[in-house]
């Protein structure tokens, strides 16, 4: 995306596929699962990006003291995906939709 202020000939273009791979990596990181388990679909929403993610979710062991409610986890993941996509790709995201397909309940001590 060249802007008028930077007078350099040529242009940068990011293919839709590259963009979706980047968002997949971000979503996988936010949800703490493998990128190959994450399906991302990018569409247009009145000029801005609309991200829909279908992925499993990694939860802390039930009843553990630092367990966070599921909805809250998803909300923070959505905010994280929105902000980090904007940071990494420079594109503005209007909507992020997450569909949780499975839940992985694992101790996170090793991951952390």
């Amino acid at each position: 995306m060249g802007t008028a202020s930077q007078k350099i000939a040529g242009q940068t273009s990011v293919s839709a596929r590259a963009l979706s791979r980047v968002v997949t990596a971000i979503a996988a990181d936010e949800l703490r699962v493998e990128p190959r388990d994450v399906a991302v679909r990018l569409t247009d929403d009145r000029g801005l990006l609309a991200v829909s993610v279908a992925a499993p979710l990694r939860l802390t062991r039930l009843g553990s003291p630092d367990a966070v409610p599921l909805v809250q986890r998803c909300e923070s993941a959505r905010v994280g995906i929105r902000n980090r996509t904007a940071d990494v790709t420079g594109s503005q995201v209007r909507t992020v939709a997450i569909r949780v397909t499975r839940a992985r309940i694992l101790a996170e001590s090793r991951v952390r």
Binding site: A4, Q11, S13, A16, T43, D44, G47, G90, Q92
Partner: protein, 188 residues
């Protein structure tokens, strides 16, 4: 004739279509008709049999109430109207003239559209394949389709297009109108 007038005239000739084809066709038809009538008259005077109709027969036929006569008249009216239209319609070519003191410069509208498209898309940061431009006699339309997530400034693109047209100052005068489509496309 001084040079400015000459160049203006050349530019006009290049931006408008000539009527030479129409006049050649009409004059050829008229002269063929005249030659034919002449032949018939001479044959009648010599007392020879006519090629198609003798002048006497023709006069009788035009005075009669034959069924084909109104249709022939109608055909003549249509033909005449077409000729009048050809004469009146400006017959402009898709070109604009550039002001220049030392030569006559004429630019195809397609070239102008390309220049407008480039200016607008560079100002807006839109990839090459997402810009459409067309130029008519008085209006240059540019439409941009942004990439999703990268909002495009209509004002910047409009300003760039206006600047280009102001610098070119083509005649007849062109106005740019840049429109940014509300929906974008993912990826670029």
């Amino acid at each position: 004739m001084n040079e400015t007038t000459l160049y203006r005239r050349i530019a006009r000739r290049e931006t408008h279509q000539s009527r030479s084809t129409a006049s050649v066709v009409v004059l050829a038809l008229v002269s063929i008709g005249a030659v034919y009538v002449g032949i018939e008259v001479v044959l009648a005077l010599l007392g020879r049999p006519p090629l198609l109709v003798s002048p006497a027969q023709a006069v009788v036929a035009f005075g009669s109430k034959a069924a084909w006569l109104p249709w022939a008249g109608l055909g003549a009216i249509v033909f005449g109207l077409i000729l009048v239209l050809v004469a009146i319609v400006p017959a402009r070519r898709a070109r604009h003239a550039l002001p220049n003191e030392r030569m006559a410069i004429v630019v195809d509208d397609r070239a102008l559209a390309g220049a407008l498209a480039t200016e607008a898309r560079l100002a807006a940061g839109v990839p090459k394949n997402r810009v459409r431009a067309s130029v008519s006699r008085s209006r240059g339309l540019v439409s941009l389709t942004p990439s999703s997530g990268y909002p495009v400034s209509q004002g910047d693109a409009q300003e760039a297009a206006d600047r280009l047209l102001a610098a070119l100052a083509v005649s007849p005068r062109l106005r740019a109108r840049v429109s940014v489509s509300e929906n974008a496309v993912v990826g670029s």
